[in-house]
Subunit: 573 residues, 2 copies
């Protein structure tokens, strides 16, 4: 009797703690195709509950998010990845098809249930085929837990979810990329801010010859820009996320400096900038102070790193009580030259961890150097790391690792380095590469350094920007460098004092980027270039750790490939 | 020892019998998107092994077909239905998503293994979403078994696989049909013969003002018509199949009569016609005799039953040794007026079983009258039978019936009739209908009559053609009539003497069609309008029988919906 009381008491106190600590936030989502006019041109997109972009999730640190997702696409599977959420203890909720789960079949449902443990600015998006490019994305904002405070002050919040948009549908895009000869998707038709852009018309038509002003009357309400409405003499937190399929972007606000305070859910040493570079997969919070004359100011988002063929995305910062329909008398801010990489590097180097942030271990247990190359395999254009182009297997790694189904993927070890004589400044002498589903197995709790090494593409004098995103972890960005990484020369330049924690980091053309992380999250995690077509063409790897500590994988995540057959065996699992 | 020898002997004799009786024909197919120019305009289509249309399968009656199909679509499931093959004992190989199996996931494989028990002209096609409309189809021709003879003579064979083609991709088509307001797919851009048509150009440009001759040089080889090459004074069997998404077609060959001898894999009383109507889902064999002056003759395929906006599909019957590039001096044959239903009905009434064909039982055990209506459900346009619009469940019926998973679909009885006061000549007074996954359960081996009753659509003075296709069975076509079926008046007109066996039959505008079949094939079988968008909008039903005799369903067919969960229960199945 006493024991029973004790047990009840324990349960009760656990319940109370749970109630205090977190709230479960339930969502019911249906993912399906919708007609939408994101840039004033009607197209078919993937929406959530009939809307594009998907609904913004707001939660508090420690909350449990529970999204019951039903697939209403007609013949396609679907998954959603919660970008930046580390999924400690719930690796099956990471939403990566073929990695963390089987794609959800049409008319079926899957519950994504996970903790948002850390305040910050995140987003979510499709992670199957090129569904992100079809519009399957939205914001996920985690506020500090009750009783906690952000380490900076602001009076109001504004959101800018940035993306790029093509009029060609993703099926055609995908076929083109997978064809021989490859057909490239080209530059986007529009840059979208909060899912809204203007194709073949401009808010700033007054300032450029030949472009026409947008007509938002009648049916084009879906492309009316979301105005950033502010009161004078206040401080606003602008949460900026980029889920572009391709474009690196630069954001500037006329007459206003931005103080960068957060990146990818981690606090930064505040730094004031005139314009901000943001790569696909990144998020930032900046503070702006409305200390200018009450008026309207341009907010301009331009393409960087590729010869821009897409006009900037535009909206307005509108001071109360000025009418938002009043066009500023001066043109939008001029963005840095698309190939002014010095500007971009200077920005990246300004991003440093806020004092008191967690520091990296002093030394790694393992170093993996990943050469990024564009290749040819049987005539098909691919991207590879260390000469391996990732081909995802039909069986998700999480299930096949957990249940030791070694036949489910290529068990060969992936190389930790690339040949000494490879010249990163030249097109590959031998452009051939191999396709494989092999992975990196990391020792649990070990410290891993990854040097992402950029190289020349198949074209002479060309090297591209790649933003690399790691699932399941934040990593410290130890530094950026030019040319080929040289251990002796470069390791001493690593910033071990205040490197920022990120989940996405860029490698610049012909350069390298060094990151460090602790492999402390049992699961199988994608690590890949966040450019959607590059990932589709094999630019990624999977890293797995702590397999023996992976909890019971929900059966709903296992209904495909070899794990399906496993489930059909009455003695397993 | 003696026993062992006996067993060995038995096995050996079984093996010999098997070798004599049938051959297993193995195919390895990869289904994926391809760039193709079926009508001289490049588009993305679904191909098999990189080809459109899919490869023609040729087999002999009694052979086993084994198609190992791998899904190379990027995010879509896929299945293939073997149209006209009854699948006795292999209902899981019928290739209907949500009915006979789970769609095959990307990168996964499924083996379709089934007997082609009856000689005839068949075809295969996708049966998931609108994938048939994307080009997933091909011919399946079953010759008589060795030692057997066809009941008619011919010197050579020619094929005509007919289809219609839209430039809008199927994702957009599907979204449009599923939207409120519904967006209709419109008329096809081209009629394809053997997968080849000509958009915005014509082989017969000489005979019509304003149209231009096709340029087949350079890259347009994929739309060069397949010429029917013949020698003079011979008899040819022309095998014609129609897998159109929408169009009823009429085929005519200049100066040549056609003797119809086979329909849907069943022999007919030979009948000579000048032109032939063929509806989606039907197949015919006709004999033509090359008894005309050696020359080229037009082969023309026109749209019937809808105001044609699509030019006829054209090719040539080319007599040896005349050059196939010589255009006939007279224009292509003029097809009957699109709405000359008297002509169509006269043709249908000429289709009668060959003497000695199996005869129907004299009386049915059950009569089901199915009213075909166009409806509105919550503002969405749908098609219904007896006021039920079919919504396929995530769990295939075959598995849920076999394993008694009653929660997997709506268990309500479907009605066998419709209200007496319903006026089939007028738009519905109450256009509302209901969506359901309910089915018809048929008593095993019972004789079932179905009266397919047409009606006015939602539009005044409009009633459309619907070709109904039954899976798993042939049925006898007992008769066609005008207006509402009246048991007392009409039952006596049924043809019980020589009704043709078919698997597809048309209902004419405002008319009815009576069919009879024996429910002797354990399984769950689709019965539906073969117009792809009509099926997508709910115009179908599922009929199940002999559930207790269904063999062991391959686990590969069960990896979705409730059956997936069943498989995860170690005590089942």
């Amino acid at each position: 009797m006493a024991l029973r009381s004790l047990i009840l008491l324990c349960c009760f106190s656990v319940l109370i703690q749970f109630a205090l600590a977190s709230k479960v936030r339930h969502f019911h989502w249906e993912v399906g195709y919708v007609y939408w006019s994101p840039d004033c041109v009607e197209n078919v997109m993937i929406g959530i509950n009939g809307q594009f972009p998907g609904p913004t999730i707001r939660a508090k640190a420690g909350d449990i998010i529970s999204v019951n997702l039903t697939n209403k696409l007609h013949t396609e599977g679907v998954v959603i990845h919660w970008h930046g959420i580390r999924q400690f203890g719930t690796p099956w909720a990471d939403g990566t098809a073929s990695i963390s789960q089987c794609a959800i079949n049409p008319e079926e449902s899957f519950v994504y249930r996970f903790e948002v443990d850390k305040p910050g600015t995140y987003f979510y998006h499709g992670h199957y085929g090129m569904q992100r490019s079809a519009g399957l994305y939205g914001d996920l904002i985690v506020e500090v837990a009750d009783g906690h405070k952000e380490p900076f002050h602001y009076d109001g919040e504004l959101n800018m979810l940035l993306s790029d948009w093509w009029h060609q549908n993703i099926q055609d895009q995908t076929v083109g990329l997978s064809s021989n000869p490859m057909r490239w998707i080209g530059e986007p038709q529009s840059i979208l801010i909060e899912g809204r852009g203007q194709y073949n018309c401009s808010l700033a038509a007054h300032f450029s010859n030949g472009s026409k002003f947008c007509d938002f009357s009648s049916t084009h309400h879906q492309c009316i820009p979301i105005i950033l409405s502010v009161f004078p003499n206040k401080t606003y937190r602008l949460r900026i996320t980029s889920t572009t399929a391709l474009s690196a972007l630069n954001l500037a606000i006329g007459n206003h400096k931005m103080v960068v305070v957060e990146a990818d859910g981690n606090y930064l040493e505040p730094v004031a900038v005139d314009d901000l570079d943001i790569y696909s997969g990144e998020s930032y919070s900046v503070l702006i102070t409305t200390d200018q004359n009450p008026a309207n100011y341009w907010v301009s988002v331009s393409v960087r790193g590729r010869l821009p063929k897409t006009p900037p995305g535009l909206t307005l910062l509108n001071y109360h009580p000025i009418s938002p329909s009043k066009i500023p008398t001066i043109p939008p801010p001029i963005s840095p030259l698309w190939n002014d990489y010095a500007h971009s590097k200077a920005f990246s180097n300004k991003i440093l961890a806020r004092q008191g942030s967690p520091k990296p271990p002093m030394n790694p247990d393992r170093q993996i150097i990943l050469l990024n190359t564009q290749n040819k395999i049987d005539g098909y254009t691919k991207w590879s790391v260390n000469n391996i182009s990732l081909a995802l297997p039909p069986t998700p790694y999480l299930g096949s690792l957990k249940y030791r189904l070694t036949s489910a993927f290529d068990n060969k070890m992936r190389p930790d380095n690339f040949p000494e004589d490879y010249d990163v400044m030249k097109p590959p002498v031998n452009p051939n590469s191999t396709v494989s589903s092999s992975i990196y197995m990391l020792r649990f709790k070990s410290t891993v350094d990854v040097i992402l090494q950029n190289a020349n593409t198949l074209t002479e004098n060309a090297s591209e920007i790649h933003p690399w995103h790691l699932h399941g972890h934040d990593f410290w960005v130890l530094g950026y460098g030019e040319g080929r990484y040289n251990e002796k020369r470069d390791v001493n330049k690593f910033n071990l004092k205040n490197p920022p924690l990120r989940n996405t980091v860029v490698i610049f053309p012909y350069g390298w980027t060094a990151i460090r992380f602790v492999a402390d999250n049992p699961g199988a995690w994608a690590f890949h270039c966040h450019i959607e077509p590059h990932l589709h063409m094999g630019m990624g790897a999977v890293m797995a750790e702590g397999i023996e500590y992976i909890g019971k994988v929900p059966k709903e995540a296992l209904g495909c490939g070899v794990t399906k057959k496993l489930l059909m065996n009455p003695h397993q699992p």
